[in-house]
């Protein structure tokens, strides 16, 4: 493993891959900073930029965009009380209060440091955990994979949004939309209605651009962006007292983010909420929270980045995306002819270890980008909405068209933009739909292959211990959510 990692570093430190990581982190931070463009849509829109790169370079750049965006959202949370992406919602509470008290620099500084620590610790853990987990997953057969994916979807349905029924409905809709196109087992077209564009199914990336990009812009067009605090950014480093308060918060946030990142389907908001609440409960002065407590920024930001890196573990080892953004990354892997999952570590160790090494490098780049350049990022918040909106829409159109050089994908994106706008207004969660759409073909294939193995006998799912355990866990998650056993903090308000 160490040998693989060293080789990975040797490759990731070549000028080209370093440049991809730097460009990815910069673009990702830009996406996070700009209101109206979340990490899922931002990563999807930028996929065409990687078309000319080799698969390793493309994945390095897109991964860097992903965790760059996860950090960038903090800047808007602190300065204008508008989260650049969903996971930064909780940072608004104390981060914006700190900015109002003239401590914006400190808030952004501790967020950058906390994100760095969270990201590095989670990546070290990824190096230790991923190879044995991938080896274990090699023993999985189709029934286990079916049960595992079902478990992931049940977690998403059980925890996303305020209504479990609505989340389940969205999961089923995503799965059903994934059925459009060629049947993965028999090769016959389904729901294509003799429309050639539908034979390949609905373009996943175009759907994500619509659901998360266009709909976000439509929502932003309705409401004006809040006032930007003219923050003093000279003092980025916390005082000695603030350091004392932050160290424990960063470590606890990292632990919470990492642990929850391992669970497929938990979503990015939950770890940040958990970390914030844990700090408030542990604090001897909880009344400071909501009024500019530095722990209220340090803990969720560490949890956010630890989660982002830990979520790569189920993705790389099992092929299960934990969030819509990871699902977009999965789409990018597939476009580049790479299938995430246990075989990845066996078949493409060069790629996977170079990408993992690039996570370490990306975290260092992010720290270097964000501490000294935070003032520059803050200036972007003054970009007038019409120009921002026109720029984002241009990128959406060219991004959707570039996927297959097809106007059909542009129409799909627009349609799902409007659908996403309506669904968001009605509090119908989008994350289950997206995960259902990306996992649909694999879950169907594993279920049908399992039933073919057993000649149609359903007992195959109940006679294999691991499969049975996962199915029981999936049922328990749904039952728990139905009976409101899941703590309210675990329920994501909106994704």
């Amino acid at each position: 493993m160490l040998q693989h990692l060293v080789s990975g570093f040797a490759a990731a430190l070549t000028p080209a891959y370093l440049a991809y990581a730097l460009v990815g982190c910069t673009l990702g931070t830009l996406i996070g900073v700009l209101p109206g463009l979340g990490p899922a849509a931002g990563t999807a829109i930028l996929i065409p930029l990687t078309f000319k790169l080799d698969p390793t370079g493309a994945i390095i750049m897109l991964s860097a965009i992903y965790y760059g965006a996860m950090y960038g959202g903090t800047i808007t949370s602190v300065l204008i009380n508008v989260p650049g992406e969903a996971a930064s919602v909780i940072t608004c509470i104390d981060g914006h209060q700190m900015a109002r008290q003239g401590r914006a620099g400190t808030a952004l500084g501790i967020a950058a440091i906390g994100s760095f620590v969270g990201g590095m610790v989670a990546t070290i853990a990824l190096v230790l955990v991923a190879p044995p987990l991938a080896r274990l997953a090699l023993s999985f057969g189709p029934p286990e994979f079916f049960a595992l994916m079902l478990f992931g979807l049940c977690l998403v349905s059980g925890l996303a949004g305020r209504s479990m029924l609505a989340a389940l409905l969205m999961t089923v809709l995503g799965l059903l939309l994934a059925m459009i196109g060629i049947d993965p087992v028999r090769g016959a077209p389904r729901f294509a209605f003799d429309i050639p564009d539908l034979y390949d199914g609905i373009g996943f990336i175009a759907v994500v651009m619509g659901l998360f990009g266009i709909s976000e812009i439509l929502l932003a067009a309705e409401a004006p962006v809040g006032e930007v605090v003219r923050a003093r950014l000279s003092s980025l480093l916390p005082s000695r007292e603030e350091w004392r308060r932050s160290v424990g918060a960063i470590l606890r946030g990292t632990g919470i983010g990492f642990a929850l990142g391992l669970i497929p389907g938990i979503g990015a908001i939950v770890p940040t909420f958990m970390a914030y609440i844990a700090e408030k409960r542990l604090s001897k002065t909880p009344e400071r929270f909501g009024k500019g407590a530095i722990e209220g920024v340090a803990a969720p930001e560490s949890a956010n980045n630890a989660y982002a890196n830990a979520a790569m573990i189920p993705f790389l080892t099992l092929g299960i995306p934990s969030s819509p953004t990871i699902a977009v990354l999965m789409g990018a892997f597939i476009i580049n002819g790479i299938t995430p999952g246990p075989f990845l570590f066996q078949e493409r160790p060069d790629l996977v270890w170079t990408v993992i090494a690039s996570f370490f490098i990306g975290n260092v780049i992010l720290l270097a980008l964000n501490l000294p350049l935070v003032g520059l990022w803050a200036k972007l918040l003054h970009l007038p909405f019409p120009y921002l909106c026109a720029g984002v829409l241009l990128f959406c159109v060219v991004g959707a068209y570039s996927l297959q050089q097809s106007i059909f994908d542009v129409w799909v994106m627009i349609a799902f933009g409007i659908i996403g706008y309506v669904f968001r207004k009605l509090d119908l969660p989008l994350a289950p739909l997206v995960l259902g759409l990306i996992l649909g073909p694999a879950i169907e294939k594993s279920m049908r292959t399992s039933l073919e193995m057993s000649a149609g006998d359903y007992s195959i799912f109940f006679t294999r211990p691991l499969c049975l355990g996962l199915l029981i866990a999936a049922a328990a998650v749904l039952a728990g959510a139905a009976l409101k056993l899941a703590p309210s903090v675990l329920r994501e308000p909106q994704l």
Binding site: V398, D427, L451
Partner: protein, 157 residues
């Protein structure tokens, strides 16, 4: 309490139920089982059925006055917000229609300039510079650097 988007919620759920119903019926036309086990229609048939049950359950719940979420946000925007949303959607539809006949550069030039005007920008020079730079600049990046064959229109642009 009648929530502002309750009617919209009922309409959307009814549409979803109809969609699931349509897909269930269509899936029934594919084979549910064949010699090797579950057929092409098996998975979509059961998913469609489950979708119908779920959307009906939510419909009944909403009909009885319990919204899916907080239900405090009106579905359709009003005033200035409505005008901006309509301009964005109309702009996207128009640019999709013009993309192939006019070509990427001209279609995007028209789209960007029109959008900026619709969103209230009243500085013609800035609009022209931004529209030209973004449409022709983006074309250059994608067509020449990334070698993505973007559409070229009847005017050869």
């Amino acid at each position: 309490m009648i929530l502002p988007n309750r009617r919209a919620e009922l309409v959307v759920l009814a549409c979803l139920c109809a969609l699931f119903g349509f897909m269930t019926v269509t899936a029934f036309g594919y084979s549910l089982r064949d010699a090797l086990g579950p057929g092409a229609g098996f998975f979509p048939f059961w998913l469609g059925t489950l979708g119908m049950v779920l959307s009906l359950a939510l419909f009944v719940q909403s009909w009885r006055g319990r919204a899916i979420g907080e239900g405090t946000q009106a579905l359709l925007p009003r005033g200035e917000g409505a005008r901006r949303v309509a301009a964005l959607v109309a702009g996207l539809v128009v640019v999709s229609l013009l993309l192939q006949p006019l070509g990427f550069r001209l279609a995007m030039l028209v789209f960007t300039a029109g959008l900026l005007l619709a969103l209230g920008v009243r500085r013609p020079v800035l609009i022209a510079i931004f529209a030209l730079a973004s449409s022709f600049g983006l074309f250059h990046v994608f067509y020449y650097w990334l070698q993505v064959p973007l559409p070229i229109g009847v005017l050869g642009i």
